[in-house]
Symmetry: C2
Subunit: 393 residues, 2 copies
Amino acid sequence: MTRIEAIDLFLLQVPDFDPARDPVKDTLLVRARAGQYEGWGEGEAAPFVSLAAFVTPESHSTSRPVGASVLGQPLEGPADIVAITRRVLEDSMNVLQAPHVYSGVEMALWDLLGKKCEEPVYRLLGYDRAFAKQPYVVIPFAATPEETFGRMRQARQAGYRAVKTGWNGFGSGDIAADGAQLAAAREGLGTDARLFLDAARIWGNDPTATNGYGALLDQFSVEWVEEPFEPAALEAYAEFSRYFGRQRIAAGENIHSVAQARHLFDIGGVGVIQIDCGRVGGIGAARDIARYVDRRGGQYVNHTYTSHLALSASLHAYAGLERQDLCEYPMDPSSLSWAICREHLALGADGKVELPDAPGLGIAMDLHAIQEHLLDVEIRVGENILYRTPNLA
Amino acid sequence: MTRIEAIDLFLLQVPDFDPARDPVKDTLLVRARAGQYEGWGEGEAAPFVSLAAFVTPESHSTSRPVGASVLGQPLEGPADIVAITRRVLEDSMNVLQAPHVYSGVEMALWDLLGKKCEEPVYRLLGYDRAFAKQPYVVIPFAATPEETFGRMRQARQAGYRAVKTGWNGFGSGDIAADGAQLAAAREGLGTDARLFLDAARIWGNDPTATNGYGALLDQFSVEWVEEPFEPAALEAYAEFSRYFGRQRIAAGENIHSVAQARHLFDIGGVGVIQIDCGRVGGIGAARDIARYVDRRGGQYVNHTYTSHLALSASLHAYAGLERQDLCEYPMDPSSLSWAICREHLALGADGKVELPDAPGLGIAMDLHAIQEHLLDVEIRVGENILYRTPNLA
């Protein structure tokens, strides 16, 4: 029987990080090993805290280290991953950080299992085939509408037909300025492109502050407004969706359980559920949410701004759901996230993103780039070395 | 102006821990210093992961270390703590572990501020006076009803008039066995004692599994059943409360935000909200929840199984709410939690617990006992020492 022999955690960081140049400073990569197989995953966010949740000493029966629920477990089929997930949720219930590190671990387990079974992960998840998704890219408002126009035109020329924009001042009071930015974005993209807006929690938990914005969304054919409120403001979401319709609101990137997604959808009336596979607890949780939303006529989309390993994991989770035809697509080749993958999910001739027809997640990692970003970490508690950066080889 | 100069984190552990002998294995103590003042707090749970959340390198704008929002901030009055809390919630939003460590930090800030202002914390929180609370102690089902009877009789003779019992097999199928245990508990305690039941999530998220238990609660005058379902199963709680009434359900010990408490109360119909001050984000969050519940006719009670420092913090949070007259009371002097406090909140002649009339939280710490349990920890990331156990002196 194949058992999980090793879970290696690697903390990566960009040397001399400059946030103006680079969207991602650091990350936590996970490598799982069993027999002759290995798999890779990536957790989001606060990688050092996630590492701590994996190796922490046991505290009490619901505060066990995530590692204790994973190492040594059998890994023969999908049911084994489901069993491990259940154990993590129960035994690490009071380790708040657990879902973030387990997201990366669980991705690595699916990747490994896919390689062992010689199947792409989406098939192990119960899908017959993978449907291509239309990518949207993220281009925030620039400093001026003119600049915003220029960036949008550039994106359109590069072949993108869907863009999410916003923040950088959006919603901070001047609705005319917001209108000018949206007008520039729409003009730069063309009338046939899809446009989404990220409000970045600008209205806290006050739905009345959104007065007038419905008309603005209509005027520039903005399909949805993302995170108008704080993630936990279910009451504000519910009120907003009563007036704007549920398909007009997107949220969920901060979610870290299936239950939270259900509450956003059922109670908050959020029609577009955005899930980060590196936060929610992994591919299985994302798949369960996608199916829940899809069956109820909602829209599901990934939230991914990290690597194409995480992107691939995110897409496998809802690959087989034909109606769910969009995906968030990280396109910045300047970053750490780009460097650590040897392969990337490129756009096809039709402008869509397809999963590779390969076992597991289908993304080969770049060990050289990983080594270049690898931090040397050591944690000592009493006389025990709790963690030391493992060898990559 | 007084500014927060140091936050020292101490990881404590029982040497040669035996869970059969001791309920608490480890804990995270926090000492805050500003000018000539110091304050103490205690966070729950998974202390090492919480420590990591305080010292972690900054990852991105919503994944900042908790320490960065606290150190160097002004601390002149209650509004300063509110401002720090807001900053932690925003800047560490994607550090899932943040509420657990901040709970301990925030307690220490209130303790310090109380000493500086020469006021008990409850006055800084806006209460005129502190009402004594009736303590209940936790005595789980023993192996047999006879043993359960004996333990309950002992507790009654020791002066306790309220007990929470349960788990250790409760609800696992044999309703007659559950009835025999409850009968023994009621007989041992006497008819005038208050009795509560902890179901320890035995029914997962399935309200139909609770069939027949309503009659059992009535028969033995059990006031509430605690955590019949998983903490996030709002839908199951809502269904249960429709049949049993909201005052029959208690939950909330795992909560780590004000919003989660509101959802349990408003959506789940949970009438008895149980808050652990060491998990929820500190005294301010607990106070806000207590007021919310109190104004709407619900019941608020603390969840405390750790030290009397944490107990005192928990009581300050709802000290001024006269109708909220119960408190959970940790009584085990064998544990680490007992040892680290020099003073304890003893029962008065009327059997009730009163807060000391002293500045801050009013609990002096036992530095000698702390030193005896102190773990020597060192965390190195690259060339930086991120954490090293500070000196107690």
